[in-house]
């Protein structure tokens, strides 16, 4: 009698452990796309946005983690930050201010490349980066900005674009989000 009780308890424990494991596994395959976007090249930001929009159109939750050079794409053209130290000012001056000023990773040719690509995109009906960000906002694509990179590059929150689903966080947030996403990419 005592033995059976023990067995039942052991079984119950095993079932509990398995249930917890299954829940963790199910969570690990959420219909979610996480991208760590590090590059600030126009072509790579374009790729990230096209993939994000395709995913969002398929009702996949999209979380974009912007860090390092990619922060340039989030700078607002018409905003200014005050009280910057010398190095931050230098960084601000040398890096592209907004997604419309990004360079190409190849064939940049002092700005000729991006001009030609923009012309081609327009003539072939490809959405501009500006339009892609608008669509992303409509489809509730989340943008998470790396706080550490912001400080490192000397960017301030008041010079970042107005985007409805934007928040600031650290690497742990990306790791946690990516851990439960079925798709993780690094661009």
């Amino acid at each position: 009698m005592q033995e059976t009780e023990l067995n039942v308890r052991q079984l119950q424990e095993q079932v509990d452990a398995l249930t917890a494991k299954v829940a963790a596994l199910e969570n690990a395959r959420k219909d979610q796309l996480s991208i760590a976007i590090v590059s600030g090249d126009m072509d790579k930001i374009l790729a990230a946005m096209v993939i994000s929009l395709a995913a969002a159109a398929m009702d996949t939750k999209v979380k974009l983690f912007f860090s390092f050079w990619a922060l340039s794409a989030l700078r607002a053209e018409n905003k200014k930050a005050k009280d910057k130290d010398f190095i931050s000012k230098m960084f601000g001056m040398m890096l592209p201010k907004s997604k419309n000023k990004l360079k190409l990773s190849k064939m940049n040719m002092a700005g000729m490349g991006p001009m030609m690509i923009k012309y081609l995109m327009k003539s072939q009906g490809v959405l501009s980066l500006e339009e892609m960000f608008q669509q992303a906002a409509d489809l509730e694509v989340e943008i998470i900005v790396c706080e550490m990179s912001m400080n490192l590059m000397g960017f301030k929150k008041e010079e970042i674009i107005d985007y409805p689903h934007l928040s600031y966080a650290g690497a742990t947030t990306f790791v946690a989000d990516a851990g439960e996403s079925a798709i993780q990419l690094f661009i």
Partner: protein, 83 residues
């Protein structure tokens, strides 16, 4: 469905996405799907050949029924039925 059947299908909604490239047609289809009823047929017009393979994938993920594609002069008509 055969090409003839598709051409004669009664379409509840026609989405003309010929002016836009990938992922434009998908985005337009996604917007339009909310405006039709379950069981309705929607056609998507696209000049982007990728749409022919993208829409079936979108349908199978969302549970809609992909009906087929018809090639017209310089563009495609892709047909699907809402779940």
């Amino acid at each position: 469905m055969t090409t003839e059947e598709l051409r004669n299908a009664s379409v509840a909604k026609s989405v003309d996405a010929r002016g836009t490239a990938c992922p434009g047609p998908l985005l337009e289809a996604k917007k339009a799907i909310g405006t039709i009823k379950s069981g309705d047929i929607m056609e998507i017009l696209s000049a982007d050949e990728g749409t022919k393979s993208d829409i079936p994938k979108w349908c199978s993920k969302q549970g809609h029924e992909y009906l087929g594609a018809v090639e017209e002069d310089g563009f495609f008509k892709v047909y699907m039925k809402k779940k």
